[in-house]
């Protein structure tokens, strides 16, 4: 089956400044793909290339099997897009704005618009200009989903939403995925991607540094551990242990991160009197950082 998104060596320079460098990526139909990276990493550049707002310096991008430049009309009819920064022209009311977009996309039943607006608790009669950031975001989400597109391209979808609405968004993503639609969403919030995505791509400084399934990231199970002893312990006993890094001992408290099994640490700690042991949930951010460090280390070695 044709992948929903396919890029090859996708590169974009803004003058001398690098936006994106050699990104090769494939998102199969029906997948939820999280595009993760810090601000300025190139996430929005990649998305704007997909929608043919900007043109690649090198490389290619295909959406739903077609070139977004040559077959722009046909492609965009099947795409729902949420911009990272929502700017609306004119004094439109929410429903006027959505009606315009609906007609531009060949007609969207009003029932569908009302249903989505109700879900997000969005009042259709308000002027968009007067809405808060979060409510504008809801307008953006409703318009992206309302025509039931085959592919959703969402730039920072939960920005400005309160936790309740973020949950509503996650539910909507799950339903959309169940309906066979594909979602490509960028984010710098790990939690939202972790919850919603099948796979995650990590982008940094314009390069795609890793693509992983979310479950396998979980299996790497990097966790932070604190062990409280009844007396100070010597660091040498712990520093060489398998899977242990970022070791720090402050008096009777040992801090470290553990990659994989806890057993070596537990065995070593058992030689002293353990008062307390705290192991924090595997943290995706730590996992990602370890990815980064490994990549960097591999390059420097």
């Amino acid at each position: 089956m044709t992948p929903a998104v396919q890029t090859e060596g996708l590169t974009k320079y803004y003058g001398p400044h690098r936006g994106l460098e050699g990104v090769t990526l494939e998102v199969p139909t029906g997948e939820v793909f999280g595009f993760l990276g810090p601000n300025g990493a190139g996430k929005t550049t990649a998305i704007r290339l997909m929608l043919d707002f900007i043109r690649p310096t090198k490389g290619t991008v295909r959406l739903l099997g077609a070139d977004p430049r040559r077959s722009g009309m046909a492609v965009r009819r099947r795409v729902g897009y949420l911009p990272g920064e929502l700017r609306f022209e004119g004094p439109d009311r929410v429903e006027q704005f959505l009606a315009f977009l609906g007609s531009a996309r060949g007609g969207v039943p009003r029932r569908r618009i009302v249903e989505l607006a109700d879900r997000f608790d969005l009042d259709l009669t308000h002027k968009i200009r007067t809405l808060s950031k979060g409510n504008k975001q809801k307008v953006g989400l409703v318009q992206a989903f309302m025509h039931e597109p085959d592919l959703l391209v969402l730039d920072e979808p939960t920005g400005g939403l309160d936790p309740l609405m973020q949950q509503e968004f996650q539910d909507l993503v799950r339903e959309t995925r169940a309906a066979g639609q594909t979602i490509f969403m960028s984010s710098h919030v790990l939690a939202e991607v972790q919850q919603a995505a099948d796979r995650v791509g990590i982008v940094r400084n314009g390069r795609l540094v890793a693509v992983e399934r979310v479950e396998s990231l979980g299996k790497r199970a990097i966790r932070t551990v604190q062990v409280h002893f009844d007396a100070p312990v010597p660091a040498e006993e712990f520093s060489g242990l398998h899977g242990i890094s970022k070791l720090r001992i402050e008096g009777p408290v040992l801090h470290c991160t553990v990659d994989g099994r806890l057993d070596p640490l537990i065995k070593a700690a058992a030689r002293h009197t353990v008062v307390d042991l705290i192991s924090a949930e595997p943290d995706l951010e730590e996992t990602f950082l370890s990815y980064y460090y490994e990549q960097e280390d591999a390059r420097h070695d």
Partner: protein
Amino acid sequence: MTSLIRKSLRGQRRVLLGWLLGLACYATIYSSFYGRFDEIAAAKFDAMPEAMRTAFGWSSGFSTGAGYLDAVIYSMIGPLLLIVFAIVLGNRGIARPEDGGQLDFYLANPISRNRFLTGRYLILAGGILAGAAVILIAVLSFAVTMDMGIGIANIIAATSGMALVALVFGTLAFAVGAATGRPGTVLGTAGAVVVAAYMCKVLSDLIDELSWLRWLSPFHYYTANQPLLHGLHPGHTLVLVALVTGLLAVSFVTFNRRDVGV
């Protein structure tokens, strides 16, 4: 297309209404003063130095209806007002919304860039047409009731010529916006070209050695034939139409090629 135009119009409504109202007031007030212009005042104007009259574009004196309308509306203030209006609209076509990051919601739809440009340009063209129509109605109503002695056809011709000059500069603003997406560049370029074009016309009228400069000025192709007296010159009109067409072509070519919203 109609929904795109309707949507865009909602964004321009206030600007359009404000300007149309202003143009209507201006044309009405100045046309209506014709009755109060007694012969002495007219004679005083006629006694002004030739060079000064030329600089203000008052070529045929104040004592006739045509001379009066030419002086207060058609030679300078009218075209300049309409040109400023056209540049405002031209700037709002692409550059201003692009600078405000507002184009995403248009271009992410199955609307081609050509179609989008066409819709936005129609608002500019329609706005100028409406502006000219408002002036025409005001002038015509006074020209007829006060018996200014000018043919209706010539008033229509002069107003059309004025609108065409405004369309040239409005299209220039639109084209610079389509090519760059920067309102500052649009206003700077359009303003500089208007001033340069007007100066070319004035200098060519004042200084014989510089008379060739007039060929560079769109104003010349509008005023040379004295439209209030003789109607529009077909060749000159064609030059203005060609300018508009050329600038429009530049808009389409450049906007299709470039990155939007960068």
